[in-house]
């Protein structure tokens, strides 16, 4: 059996705010409640195979960015383990851990706040490979020029500063910086969300090209389902700290097996759906400090049964290659399959 590139197993991440002296006094006197714990991730299991593009979808506060950071080794998990090519990341030696972190690079949403405004582009891109001894100082200029060309920028601009570039170009600089250390896994955390539509398309094309040329593995985190659908081989949907569904892209979009995925797909605005009636699911995402009991989605779910408020549904196989964390997954799946059939008939008419 081949070893997965990343295997995160039962990963939980909790954040607690530390109280200052005045707050501790207030809590002691009973004038204030102790600060709550945010359950950002709750027993999340995720596997990424080499060469795969995994799309991680969900709304704000669902824990998708936290999961990205835990996988990148930027945040230690509170519980559970992350394995990199079969080895527990927490037990790696310092040198191995450094190698693993180099092989995993993140590209953030806002290129302006992730690029140092006082450094020239050649230093932004060339610093890491020099420091890690991947290139010699004499080679740096040519190395940076090659990277700039690869991401579609003019190599002559290497002496410029970040503010001299547009948003799309800055994002390309961020990508070149990540590629400079020869990563195997790129984590794109809402990397195109802040860009204009025509620029988004350019960057998406760049990602797809890089993946082919460099045999990269991508974890593509986004709230935009049409983007996820376009680029991913497999999709993972999260809701309030838990994975609710995972399946191959076509299977998931054709017939979702979780009520939340189904609601998300119904609500996503696309240019193919005109003059439609918006029929949204009610309510808002609950607070991660006090999540609902049982299935986190049950207060908003139109299929919810008494069981859903009591028992936490496991993420379990419901069909070939599909996992869903819903007690009623089989019913939802067959209902969506029928609905999909109707929809394709309607569009054929």
């Amino acid at each position: 059996m081949t070893v997965s590139l990343i295997h995160a197993k039962d990963v939980s991440k909790r954040f607690t705010r530390t109280s200052d002296l005045a707050e501790r006094a207030a809590i002691w006197l009973g004038a204030m409640k102790p600060p709550g714990t945010v359950h950002a991730l709750d027993r999340v299991t995720l596997t990424i195979e080499k060469g795969e593009v995994v799309g991680l979808a969900g709304e704000s506060g669902c824990g998708k960015s936290t999961l990205g950071r835990v996988i990148a080794g930027l945040l230690p998990p509170s519980d559970g383990t992350v394995e990199w090519q079969g080895e527990d990341v927490a037990k790696l030696s310092r040198a191995e851990a450094r190698r693993m972190r180099l092989a995993t690079q993140i590209i953030f949403q806002d290129p302006m706040s992730s690029l140092n405004p006082r450094l020239r582009v050649q230093n932004i891109i060339g610093e890491a490979p020099l420091f890690h001894g991947l290139i010699k100082r004499a080679q740096a200029r040519r190395y940076v020029a090659e990277l700039l060309e690869r991401v579609g920028l003019d190599p002559d601009h290497a002496t410029r500063y970040p503010h001299q570039f547009s948003g799309g170009q800055r994002q390309r600089i961020g990508i070149a910086r990540a590629l400079a250390v020869n990563p195997e896994l790129l984590i794109c955390d809402e990397s195109i969300a802040a860009l204009d539509v025509s620029i988004q398309a350019q960057i998406l094309n760049l990602f797809m090209g890089l993946r082919r040329e460099l045999d990269l593995t991508l974890l593509f985190i986004s709230h935009d389902l049409s983007v996820i659908r376009h680029i991913s081989d497999r999709v993972v949907v999260m809701y309030l700290g838990r994975v609710v569904e995972t399946a191959a892209t076509d299977l998931l979009f054709d017939a979702p097996a979780h009520p939340y995925t189904r609601a998300l797909l119904d609500e996503v605005p696309t240019i193919d759906r005109r003059a439609r009636r918006f029929a949204p699911i009610e309510g808002e995402i609950p607070s991660p400090i006090a999540p609902p009991t049982g299935c986190h989605f049950h207060p908003r779910c139109r299929y919810a049964e008494p069981l859903c408020a009591k028992a936490v549904p496991d993420l379990r196989p419901v069909a070939a290659g599909r996992l869903s964390a819903c007690h009623l997954a089989e019913d939802i799946l067959s209902a969506s399959a029928t609905k999909h059939g109707e929809r394709s008939c309607a569009s054929a008419r």
Partner: protein, 324 residues
């Protein structure tokens, strides 16, 4: 019948130390009662400034240098400030992208809403409060009685935007200008708000201009769409016609940029280059440097070609080349 809103040849310019920024440079729009117009464009295209110009909210040194804005036949460009203030919040309302910036953080929702009611009518406080509560209930805020006494920071992003919409609805305006009101919200919350807005426009015959960069949202919501580029409307028409059979190469490019279900994994069509800097726009058609169809003719400004309900500004329109 006079249309609800008629904008003709609107130009809003901002003089700066380096030259004049022509944010809006010749915009024509008409809107009838109960109609929803989607005003689509990328950042810097002038779509928000168009909205501000209608409301008379352009701040100096920016000013409307040319053109007219007629609201129910009444000219608003050059109208006295007092008259504009009477219209704003009463007959014309605006909803902004970020409700945290438009709601006063130190006043309760009730105070802010009652203030709005009493700014235009001599309504007793008790009556004004009742109106405020009804407006909150109408936009789907649960337990409006209790929430009325809350402060903006106690509301979630989606709820805050509902409050902003409720305030806009207080006087049942004839025209609402919504500037990217759902861009910062999650899909499920956006959908809730779109559902409410759609119902309100149908029920009360309010005209709505929905400013956005998201073609998907206007496809589902708008009756008509106008596409802006570099301060001008390059194409407008009924939503179906414009999206299925675009005539301007920029409209076609924008539609091609959106990932579609049936082309998974294939490279997206892309518009090369970036939008021109506002101080350095090319002569003639501003889209010329990014356009594959451009020729020498495009160095002069294209006039409008009209075809029934639709129109476009292009010398080499796309025709019959429907993207698959």
């Amino acid at each position: 019948m006079t249309p609800l809103l008629e904008i003709e040849g609107l130009k809003t310019h901002f003089p700066t130390a380096n030259g004049v920024v022509k944010a809006v440079d010749g915009v024509d729009v008409t809107l009838s009662k109960g109609e929803i117009l989607g005003l689509v464009g990328e950042s810097g295209s002038g779509k928000s400034i168009t909205g501000f110009s209608i409301m008379g909210l352009v701040e100096p040194p920016g000013e409307i240098v040319e053109g007219s804005v007629r609201f129910k036949g009444e000219e608003l460009v050059g109208a006295p400030r007092e008259r504009l203030r009477m219209l704003r919040g009463d007959r014309i309302a605006m909803i902004f992208q970020d409700p945290m910036m438009t709601l006063n953080p130190v006043l309760s929702i009730a105070t802010q809403m009652i203030e709005t009611v009493q700014a235009h009518r001599n309504t007793p406080r008790r009556q004004a409060r009742k109106q405020a509560r009804e407006a909150l209930a109408r936009v789907g805020i649960p337990s409006p009685d209790e929430r009325l006494d809350g402060y903006p920071h106690e509301f979630s992003g989606g709820m805050r935007q509902r409050v902003a919409i409720a305030i806009a609805l207080l006087h049942e305006p004839d025209l609402i200008i919504a500037d990217e009101p759902t861009t910062a919200l999650d899909v499920t919350i956006q959908s809730q708000i779109l559902a409410q807005v759609q119902k309100l426009c149908a029920d009360t015959e309010t005209g709505l201009i929905w400013i956005t960069h998201d073609l998907g949202v206007v496809a589902g919501l708008a009756h008509r769409i106008a596409v802006m580029y570099a301060g001008r409307i390059v194409e407008h028409g009924p939503a179906d016609a414009l999206l299925d059979d675009p005539r301007h190469p920029y409209t076609q490019g924008l539609i091609g940029c959106v990932p579609a279900a049936n082309r998974r994994g294939e490279p997206l069509d892309r518009i090369p280059g970036t939008a021109p800097a506002p101080l350095n726009r090319p002569e003639g058609c501003a889209f010329r440097p990014r356009c594959t169809r451009a020729s020498r003719t495009c160095e002069t400004e294209p006039h409008q070609t009209r075809d029934g309900l639709r129109g476009w500004h292009c010398f080499h329109p796309v025709a019959g080349e429907v993207p698959a």
